[in-house]
Symmetry: C2
Subunit: 197 residues, 2 copies
């Protein structure tokens, strides 16, 4: 087999859920029927990897120091919604009418994996809450064991800054991933969020 | 969402079997945990799309005018094996002891899709057989309706050049349960049974 082809098949395996067979199929497909798309993907990938960093305010992926959402004047500065990942943020943005700001943990508390408050940017979150504008912190971490522990920790931080913590209503299937919840359920749960006591 | 990110997600959909959700997951995964691999993939993809063409002799993907297999002096020039795709060629090369040459159709006869003898490079195959070195043409197209029609056509070409056409045996797959074999295969295997010596 061509060395370049072998190299491509090997490189494709960086993608999640892609093993040897799928990588082969993808490489052949691109070479046979998608050269133009393949070139476009190569460019998009190189650009994204090089230029996309994290927003200084919300930690979401962004190609500018502050992302468009955080720079928006049309958003409600009194609510801040904490999510684990960009996919979670996107799901909320698409399914609900929420128009406050976001804060992305890019993970969840997991001491065994060496992921503590610092890795989740909680010092940045503290500074943000200390600014005094935020009234309500919507804690939309995943309803998993680690997500709940993270939520508990976040609620404490909120209270330290006299900010009201809340959680989206139960109705989210326990043990599920927020990213994959259907829109109706997510919207309902988001709408009937309750204060953390 | 970042424009570059959106562009990346969109570009990822060129890959077979990748929809919006998978593309999102792949993009986030690369940005979160696989930037180095992502950069490597971008380079490999750009290089492959630009530099990999087709071998002039066998039509397999190759970065040189004639691929390493076709340039090999260690192969048996008397047998030529025709397959539909590079994946088929690879499967035969890995599973069997075959050490002759290959010829790739990169498809199969399908008049409705505008794929005729010319698109499959059959003029090139004719020239190859006319050289007179090949004694046996192993026709390893897939056992589908179109593959069988293609095989029939290829056998005619072989006979025109006084080359012996052959087909891999059809029958029950090894290790399979008779109960679960499809009717066509079972019927064929039953009809062409051979005497046990």
């Amino acid at each position: 087999m061509s060395a370049l082809l072998e190299q491509l098949i090997d490189a494709l395996r960086v993608l999640p859920g892609v093993g040897q067979k799928s990588a082969q199929r993808m490489a052949y497909h691109v070479l046979e029927r998608g050269r133009e798309g393949g070139a476009r993907l190569a460019t998009a990938l190189a650009e994204a990897v090089e230029k996309i960093g994290h927003c200084q305010r919300c930690r979401d992926f962004s190609e500018t120091p502050v992302c468009p959402t955080c720079s928006s004047a049309a958003r409600d500065a009194q609510t801040l919604c904490v999510v684990e990942t960009p996919a979670d943020r996107l799901a909320i943005e698409q399914a609900t009418g929420y128009r406050g700001f976001y804060f992305l943990l890019q993970g969840r508390l997991s001491p065994l994996d060496g992921i503590g408050p610092h890795e989740l940017g909680l010092d940045l979150l503290g500074t943000r809450l200390a600014e005094g504008e935020v009234r309500e912190l919507i804690i939309a971490t995943n309803p998993t064991v680690e997500g709940e522990a993270t939520a508990h920790y976040l609620a404490q931080i909120a209270r330290q800054h006299a900010v009201r913590p809340s959680r989206p209503a139960h109705g989210l299937p326990l043990g599920g991933e927020l990213e994959y919840v259907d829109r109706g359920t997510l919207s309902h749960a988001f709408g009937s969020r309750s204060e953390v006591s």
